[in-house]
């Protein structure tokens, strides 16, 4: 049987005091959940303070006698309330306090229909759950539906929940300051002095989508850097993405060069990337577009590095799909997963038609290739597609997970997300605006980050002991990337984030996650640091549908959860026993030492070191390696 999913899953979080409804929006954070009177108090204040903005949107703030149908739960009758940022449903039951808190931002799509005067609203969420609300009264129902629609599609970022959210926990560590580029550079400069921090972009004038400080080769001055930026799409000049300590090889990322049809070149660009090569060595450029697409890009002013000007580099094209193709893929996949009536042939053909696993394979393959060039070929690598904000980041971040054990720890992974996704300018706001149920299909929406997480999950499944985090951690990141009370995933790049003053006005996700109470839920009990490079299998037989995300709301998981608990019990019991054996052994040794001392006092035979006998005795213990 396949147990790998259990590692990934987690000890179910300690049930909140009122647990019968488990579908609380996890975007609501748990200390708040555990004290829901306080939450209600707070959300009331929120409604008051932001009342002006939202009051006109909420025509009917409350509906009694509504019925909620959640996934895999019996229908519950209760009261529905709308606040500026939440849809709240509390059951009638006085005791037990069954409640559903749903962040409006988590709502992907609202559908309504009527049977007589009974209206039904179907709410499809970005975390893929579907809930249904029956609301008596046509007018109330219409009002509520339109309010939800309006509140879930607010135009202004500053009206979003993170700007109103006040944490109910003590902030021990400010997540906004947890992973600064300066700290990353410090780590780097302890092993090499060939790189420097450049502040050329401190006012975002060189590259609007890069962070203010970036790491570039030491021999390149800021002036040259500006010239390179002009030569690269969106100003995204090559920067350091990863330094492989084992052999000093590096991975850089950028956007496509603007060679155009007449084959422009830029000496500074050549100099910059050549600076990363050892004398006489070749490097690899991994272009995440097919050769065809790359060639077509020249007509629009883009292009690719030409052999004549980059003789030391070998270009490899590894096509990874982008934008609406990915969004379509997600929509099809979720549609297939949500229909339980499919017969086997239909299910398999829908799974195939979604192409989701094909994308997973493509991305993983490209990442493995990059890692292989670095680790096995001892060559430096430059990765780019066209913009350098999507497939490029998938490849560079996954390659690091394969190569660098640090990225498989919780903090290391968080640092990776900050470095390779947030600071690197993956446009989260655009890409994660809608999820699988969106009707308004916009070109810029794409589950690029979800695909990345899925790829990480695939590797985690194949190396279930090599990751400090579990599947729940990845699912949590997926949820927060789409809807969150934290400011971390707001905005499209550091430039926008600094304009929004997120660090002052919102809370960082990491401030919450990195508290020991939360971390406990995300830790993989089987983790054993593995300093090796981990090469995943990308054979189709080795890839699996990520059930924790895509079938999460569609199948009962009771037996799987219980089995997971049993796994935990065995591990914990093992630890307990080991500790006890150690304690007893020490105790025994102590007793024996005392024996010896006694003997030595009374006996005048030549003294043998007491600990010698002690350890000999211990070696007889069957537990110790002989």
């Amino acid at each position: 049987m396949d147990l790998s999913r259990f590692t990934a899953q987690h000890p179910p979080p300690a049930p909140p005091p009122c647990t019968r409804l488990r579908w609380r929006n996890s975007a609501l954070h748990s200390s708040a959940i555990e004290n829901h009177t306080e939450i209600q108090g707070k959300s009331l204040t929120v409604t008051r303070t932001s009342g002006e903005q939202f009051a006109e949107l909420i025509k009917t703030p409350r509906a009694d006698n509504a019925v909620l149908h959640g996934p895999r739960c019996p229908a519950v009758r209760g009261t529905l309330c709308l606040t500026g940022h939440h849809l709240i449903f509390s059951s009638r039951r006085k005791e037990g306090g069954e409640e559903l808190w749903l962040l409006h931002a988590n709502i992907d799509c609202v559908e309504k229909r009527f049977v007589g005067s009974l209206g039904t609203i179907v709410i499809k969420c970005k975390d893929l759950r579907i809930i249904q609300l029956d609301i008596p009264g046509m007018e109330e129902c219409l009002n509520i539906a339109s309010s939800i629609e309006a509140l879930s599609t607010l135009d202004s970022i500053t009206l979003m929940y993170p700007f109103f959210y006040r944490p109910m926990f003590e902030v021990v560590e400010d997540g906004w300051r947890s992973y600064l580029p300066e700290q990353e550079f410090e780590l780097l400069s302890s092993v090499t002095d060939e790189w420097r921090l450049s502040c050329a972009n401190k006012d975002f004038s060189v590259c609007p989508t890069y962070p203010p400080v970036v790491i570039i080769p030491k021999c390149i001055d800021d002036e040259a850097l500006r010239k390179v930026a002009v030569f690269r799409y969106g100003g995204r000049f090559p920067v350091l993405s990863y330094y492989h300590k084992k052999n000093g090889m590096v991975m850089m990322r950028s956007s496509q060069p603007l060679t155009g049809t007449n084959g422009r070149r830029c000496k500074e660009d050549e100099k910059l990337i050549n600076a990363t090569l050892r004398p006489g060595k070749r490097g690899y450029i991994i272009d995440t577009r097919s050769l065809n697409v790359a060639q077509q890009a020249r007509a629009k002013g883009g292009g690719f590095e030409q052999e004549v000007y980059y003789p030391q580099w070998r270009r490899i094209h590894k096509c990874i799909e982008r934008f609406n193709i990915l969004q379509e893929s997600l929509i099809k996949l979720v549609e297939a997963c949500n229909d339980q009536s499919h017969n086997m042939d239909r299910w398999l053909s829908k799974l195939e038609a979604s192409n989701w696993l094909t994308h997973i394979k493509e991305i993983l393959t490209a990442a493995c290739l990059a890692a292989q060039c670095i680790d096995r070929e001892g060559a430096s690598v430059l990765v780019h597609g066209s913009d350098g904000t999507d497939s490029t980041l998938q490849v560079t971040s996954l390659a690091q997970i394969i190569l660098d054990p640090r990225c498989r720890t919780i903090r290391g992974f968080e640092a990776l997300v900050v470095r390779e996704w947030l600071q690197a300018g993956h446009p989260f706001q655009l890409r994660c605006a809608q999820s699988a149920y969106s009707n308004t299909k916009q070109k810029w929406e794409a589950p690029v980050f979800l695909l990345f997480l899925d790829c990480v999950w695939q590797i985690l499944r194949q190396f279930p002991c090599s990751f400090e985090f579990n599947e729940q951690f990845l699912i949590m990141l997926f949820e927060h990337a789409y809807a969150s009370q934290f400011g971390t995933f707001l905005g499209n790049n550091e430039n926008e984030r600094s304009k929004l003053k997120l660090t002052q006005k919102t809370m960082s996700l990491w401030s919450w996650v990195n508290r020991s109470e939360e971390l406990a839920r995300f830790k993989n009990p089987l983790f054993e640091a593995n300093s090796l490079v981990i090469w995943p299998s990308v054979a189709p037989q080795s890839l699996q549908l990520w059930e924790g995300v895509f079938l999460r709301w569609n199948r009962p998981s009771k037996f799987l959860d219980e089995a997971q608990e049993e796994v935990l019990n065995i591990i914990n019991y093992n630890r307990e026993l080991q500790a006890k054996v150690n304690a007893l052994r020490r105790q025994l040794a102590e007793l024996e030492t005392d024996d010896r001392m006694q003997e030595n006092l009374t006996d005048s035979t030549p003294v043998r070191a007491p600990w010698l006998r002690g350890s000999v005795d211990l070696n007889e213990n069957p537990l110790l390696p002989s």
């Binding site: 086997m344 002991c465 037989q541």
Partner: protein
């Protein structure tokens, strides 16, 4: 031995099955009387039992030699390149002879000697006692009795001697009914549900043609329904697709006419026949064996093979049966055409869902002995033990194991045994190393004197049962688990990689949570023992009438381990447990195992000496 033309060929290459660059190991090929053995340059051995060989194929000569592809019944596929064509030809011909056995007596089981003495051999065969099993179910009782009608295999050659029938079914009824059933396989008891007083019965199709009826057979069914005091209606499940059953009518066979039988509910459940299953598996293997397979080709191949659809159909049928018994307390009569393929699948899976005993290691053996071996599933024909009609080969039993595996995936704590147990049984169904699965029915087995001349598999599996125990098994953690209610929605069925790619290591997860937990729970038992020993030793020490020590001890023992000071001899925590080596084997892996790109094949340099690479996998112990 006379078939072996050459016993040893050197400089043979073993190709990686999925590599596009013809990565290979070089070594020596040996042929023995029972096995083919390949030893590569790093002394790693690959043993292939001749009986496991399903097909040998010689491919056209290449520059590097003569390729020889061997496909095994356990889904191992090896691809050799023999430098000289003559050698290849010799090996090929030898293997053709060796893998095709004409007589049972030439099978490995008759020469296999596990160094058991005679009484052990006899005891081994007595391990599974079906009379005992029927007693456990609660028969004979007021409604069911043991019939001696088939004592001498007179009524039905392919049934066992001991059969349980309703008390009201007299011998003339039995005889009459058997004459109306294909191959004489009249309705008999397969499983009795004590609480519901309902029975699973099995038989073959009636010889009804378009209009024939048989009063005795009608009485027989009535006797079965009357033997159930809880519900006088019974279900008759024809496990075939309706079309097939109707076609059979033209040949004088067919299915029960509801009008002729009182109180029956007739139902088709649509499992395809052995021929469809055979070609389905063939397609599946073709797809999964493709080099450089894309995800879409894999999924569409999986779909067009129909394999998972068939597995789902089998489980759906079992679920239908179980509902009839558990919900309606109705007895069910199951048949297909001859009642030894689909009927065995559905009856045994139904019993497995109903009765947690069959989810124990011993119980599973009993289930296989009862519903498969004793009721005459034609193992010899279906697994091609002897050189025979290729149209008789069919993976019916493999499908049963796969259905069980699917249940294990859904109910990880409900089974005492694990996947390795299923794989091992599958291995031996085809190995012909033990007597259990030889032959097509009990009569044949008795004639072959298997119990004297061969050994039973089960005691060997029991001996190494530690390997087959599910560490998560919890026999009574949930009362509702007596009855398993699997969800047969399509997405719950997955490709069984560990069966069809069990020898393709590069496709498997590099670290197995399952193995880890298995070792850990094993280790826990050892630790518990050690704690007892240590405590005893400490107690003994404390028993010494030495006041000082006693005082010392109280100090250290009572304020809990936390208060323990580290004695001078322990500068560091003692490393715990050699078992750890096994438990904590951390693996990286080898890029060469995985084909990321054709381009990669250019990277043919030696592996850098980062980690010691063994079997293409880096091992590190911590």
């Amino acid at each position: 031995m006379e078939h072996i033309r050459t016993t040893k060929v050197e400089q043979v290459k073993l190709l990686d099955r999925f590599s596009t660059s013809n990565k290979s190991l070089t070594g020596t090929l040996y042929l023995t009387a029972t096995h083919l053995l390949f030893i590569d340059s790093s002394r790693r051995e690959t043993w292939i039992l001749h009986h496991h060989i399903a097909a040998v194929e010689k491919l056209p000569l290449t520059t590097s030699g003569c390729p020889l592809v061997i496909q095994c019944k356990n889904f191992r596929i090896v691809h050799f390149v023999v430098p000289r064509e003559r050698d290849c030809h010799d090996v090929y011909n030898s293997l053709l002879q060796l893998s095709r056995t004409a007589k049972y007596e030439e099978l490995y089981a008759f020469s296999y000697n596990p160094k058991q003495n005679e009484s052990e051999q006899v005891k081994g065969w007595q391990l599974i006692d079906l009379a005992e099993e029927y007693k456990r179910m609660g028969v004979p009782n007021d409604y069911w009795q043991l019939s001696d009608a088939n004592r001498d295999y007179k009524i039905c050659e392919t049934y066992p001697r001991d059969l349980y029938v309703p008390r009201t079914a007299s011998k003339p009824i039995i005889v009459g009914s058997s004459k109306f059933r294909s191959k004489g396989r009249f309705p008999v008891l397969s499983y009795y549900h004590k609480d519901k007083k309902a029975a699973i019965c099995r038989c073959s199709q009636p010889l009804s043609g378009f209009s024939a009826r048989c009063l005795e057979d009608e009485h027989m069914l009535q006797a079965i329904s009357k033997a159930n005091p809880s519900n006088r209606y019974m279900y008759v499940m024809d496990t075939r697709p309706k079309l097939n059953a109707m076609a059979n009518r033209a040949a004088g066979k067919g299915y029960e006419n509801e009008d002729n039988y009182s109180n029956i509910r007739f139902q088709f459940v649509g499992i395809e026949n052995i021929h469809v299953m055979r070609s389905s598996l063939q397609k599946l293997l073709e797809v999964s064996g493709t080099k450089g397979l894309s995800v879409n080709d894999f999924l569409s191949g999986l779909e067009s093979s129909g394999w998972l659809r068939h597995i789902k159909a089998v489980l759906d049928a079992a679920v239908f049966l179980v509902k009839a018994i558990a919900v309606e307390s109705a007895s069910v009569l199951v048949h297909c055409s001859d009642g030894w393929d689909r009927t065995s699948q559905v009856c045994s899976l139904g019993a497995l869902l109903l009765d947690s005993y069959y989810r124990t290691i011993k119980g599973f053996m009993v289930l296989i002995e009862k519903d498969w071996i004793s009721f005459g599933h034609k193992f010899s024909d279906r697994c091609c033990q002897l050189d025979g009609d290729p149209k008789e080969i069919s993976p019916v039993f493999t499908q049963f194991l796969e259905s069980v595996w699917n249940l294990m995936e859904q109910f990880p704590q409900a089974f005492e045994y694990n996947e390795a147990f299923l794989l091992q049984i599958h291995e031996h169904v085809h190995s012909c190393q033990f007597g259990n699965f030889l032959g097509n029915c009990q009569k044949e087995r008795e004639e072959l004197k298997l119990k004297e001349k061969t050994y039973s598999l089960w005691p060997f599996l029991l001996d190494e049962q530690k390997k087959y125990q599910n560490p998560l098994y919890s026999p009574d953690f949930s009362p509702e688990l007596t009855l398993l209610e699997p969800n047969t929605v399509s997405f719950n069925f997955k490709f069984w990689r560990n069966m069809y790619h069990q020898f393709d290591r590069s496709m498997h997860p590099r670290q197995s949570v399952y193995d880890l937990i298995m070792n850990m729970s094993e280790q826990n038992k050892q630790l518990e023992k050690d704690i007892k020993e240590l405590e005893a030793k400490i107690k003994q020490k404390n028993g010494q009438p030495d006041a000082v020590i006693l005082k010392e001890h109280q100090q250290s023992a009572h304020p809990a381990p936390v208060a323990l000071k580290t004695p001078p001899c322990f500068k560091k925590e003692q490393p715990l447990i050699p078992v750890n080596d096994a438990v904590r084997t951390i693996e990286g892996s080898n890029t060469a195992d995985n084909r990321y790109s054709e381009f990669m094949e250019e990277f043919s340099k030696a592996e850098p000496a980062v980690v010691s690479l063994e079997y293409g996998v880096a091992r590190m112990t911590c």
